[in-house]
Amino acid sequence: MKMRALMTVAGVCALATASAITPAVAKVDGDTIILGSSISLTGKYATNGLHTQRGYDFAVKTINDAGGVKVDGKSYKLAVTYYDDESTPARGAQLAERLIQQDGVQYMLGPYSSGMTKAIAPVSEKFGVPMVEAEGASRSLFTQGYKYLFAVLSTSEQYLATAVDMAAEERKKNFRDPSEVRVAMAFEGDPFSMDVRAGVVDKLNEYGMKIIIDDQLPADLSDMSTTLTKVKALKPDILIISGHSKGAATAARQIDEMKVNVPMIAMTHCEAAKVHEKFPKAATGFLCPTQWVETLSKSDSMFGSAGEWNTNFKKAYPSYTSVPYQSAQASAAVYVWKEAFEAANSLDKDAVRDAIAAVEMETFYGDIKFSENGNNIAKPMFMRQIGSDASYSLVESFKDMTFPRNVSY
């Protein structure tokens, strides 16, 4: 028994030494730059993990077809090494370590979801390997002082802050003070929704708006009639709700049932909850945030306009009727790598890290410029409004917004 334990220890030691002396060889293989990503291809994030992977793959192919990445006068192709993290954070952290230590990957692409990114970021940070991620929006990712983490997407506290801006602009247009706006809010108590709430509250304080209802919704939420009863009695100017798909579904159902007539309603996850299909009447005029829309008027030299990216992506993956924004931002992350390699004109990971930090570019996905904390501060969250025909239309400023909500129950 003792002998066996000793042998196991010896074996582990030998393995550890072996991996320590194995040189990191695979970061550039001939004329190919290897990026690495642990991504959820099975488990609860599998669907969105696949959207992400396709976004990466599509960008890699487009960039390679256009001549690849030029560093120091030489053209390199891009390739991505993937591992399936089974949607479990512990596995993700393990695989990130494996990518860096065993496969010698020096350039990382992010996993899917904030939770997975939270698990992997400390690993890439420990080894000083830059990671450009596209799918982790939690504000807490960017308060840790990470130096090697960069995110192309808008962070969660921006999700509904734009709606507050619009309410303020609408007031100003009528020569009235934004501080007159009375706000009702209902947020679930989970980390994501609390992030969204923090962003909204910051904005409200900035304008000096008054919060008249501030309810927290329980996790197993099937009835928010008490909140809506208060809303009807107090008649706020704007109602802001965030509680994932279930919150959006419950809210839309009961807004319909209780004929809630607030001139402006903003909530997250409208699209995921399909409120426009299930409750087309009540959902008319809802403002819903999204990271990206294909009708956006932004473009770049690699992918063209947002619309062109959308068409070409659909051509590559014909199974999509409408392309999820997860794929678009994944493509944008790969594009950031290309720009950084070329700007650094080097393959040294720290030189490239500094180049990423200095990136300032317009892409089909929107503008990209990272703050010191690594989040993208150049791209706003986009707002879309549900029309009476259940369609979503982009609201770039309050002028495009139908106000008040045009709804008759």
Binding site: Q216, L217, D220, R253
Partner: protein
């Protein structure tokens, strides 16, 4: 909180009507599943932790049927029959084997059943929140300050009909009498020729059917999700503990009471505490019982 009290009693007292109505609608649904729990608990001493999952299962069956355009009365009948058979099956497979074990075995076994049902529903129907939209009119009163969806009125009516049917069944029918006899004294019932095993199976199946009916109502007036069962279990336990076993009027009163209490707590303290309200009632009842029993307790020192 003070704001909310003022709102309720000074600024817009009319919304009390809305809150009371919501409490009644909620209470009606609770009453069904709580009465089922009281039956099973009283007759066979099984504390069914999967109670809420039976409710949600009924809801999903209703959802599946309604997407096939089956009309509501038929949905209700099909779900009741299906859940009755399902309950009988669960009894034969599982409950029968744990009848004479101690309390912890029944808790563990039904908790296991609850987890299993949640996961199966998650696999079959997906984790999204779903609902049946009957597209029935919603009435509004007092300048739209009070709205009553007709779906909730219908569900209240159906709950009353079902409750009435169960009362008459328990009082008048031979099977009902057999259930009550078995609850009072299983051994004497057996001596007098009652097949208690069959009575137990029937009771459990009846509970399952009642939960199924509650589930149909839940799916037409609120939303369902595979993991929402636990809130219905907790409420049922709170109601039964407050009302006592085998006391149908008590269960109904307690159900409406808890429904109203929940809505007022939600209104005054906040929606987040709505789910905590029945649990706090459970706690208060237990403490009160403890105190009132202390008076009669005699200890040999």
């Amino acid at each position: 909180m003070l704001d909310n009290l003022q709102l309720l009693f000074v600024w817009a007292p009319i919304i009390n009507v809305q809150v009371i109505l919501e409490g009644i609608f909620v209470g009606a649904v609770f009453a069904l599943s709580a009465y089922g729990l009281a039956l099973v608990w009283g007759v066979m001493n099984i504390k069914n932790l999967a109670q809420g999952d039976f409710v949600i299962m009924g809801g999903y069956l209703a959802l599946a049927l309604s997407s096939a355009n089956v009309p509501l009365p038929l949905i209700l009948i099909i779900v009741i029959v299906f859940m009755f058979v399902y309950g009988w099956g669960i009894y034969a497979l599982m409950i029968r084997r744990i009848l004479d074990q101690d309390m912890f075995v029944s808790l563990l076994a039904t908790f296991g059943l609850s987890l299993l049902m949640q996961q199966v529903m998650n696999l079959v129907f997906g984790p999204e929140v779903q609902t049946i939209d009957m597209e029935l009119p919603n009435w509004d009163f007092f300048d739209n300050m009070v709205t009553i969806p007709s779906s909730k009125v219908i569900s209240l009516g159906l709950a009353a009909v079902i409750a009435l049917a169960v009362v008459i069944f328990m009082k008048k029918s031979r099977a009902g009498q057999a259930i009550r006899a078995t609850a009072q004294d299983p051994r004497a019932a057996r001596v007098l020729g009652i097949d208690t095993d069959k009575v137990y199976a029937f009771t459990f199946a009846l509970n399952s059917a009642l939960c199924g009916a509650a589930g149909v109502l839940v799916s037409i007036i609120w939303v369902i999700q595979p993991f929402y069962g636990i809130t219905y279990s907790v409420r049922s336990f709170a109601i039964v503990t407050a009302a006592g076993l085998g006391n149908l009027p008590g269960v109904i009163t307690a159900a409406f009471g808890i429904g109203l209490f929940e809505k007022y707590v939600g209104m005054i303290i906040g929606t987040a505490y709505e789910v905590a309200a029945p649990v706090s009632i459970l706690l208060m009842v237990l403490i009160w019982r403890q105190i009132s029993m202390k008076r009669n307790r005699q200890v040999v020192r």
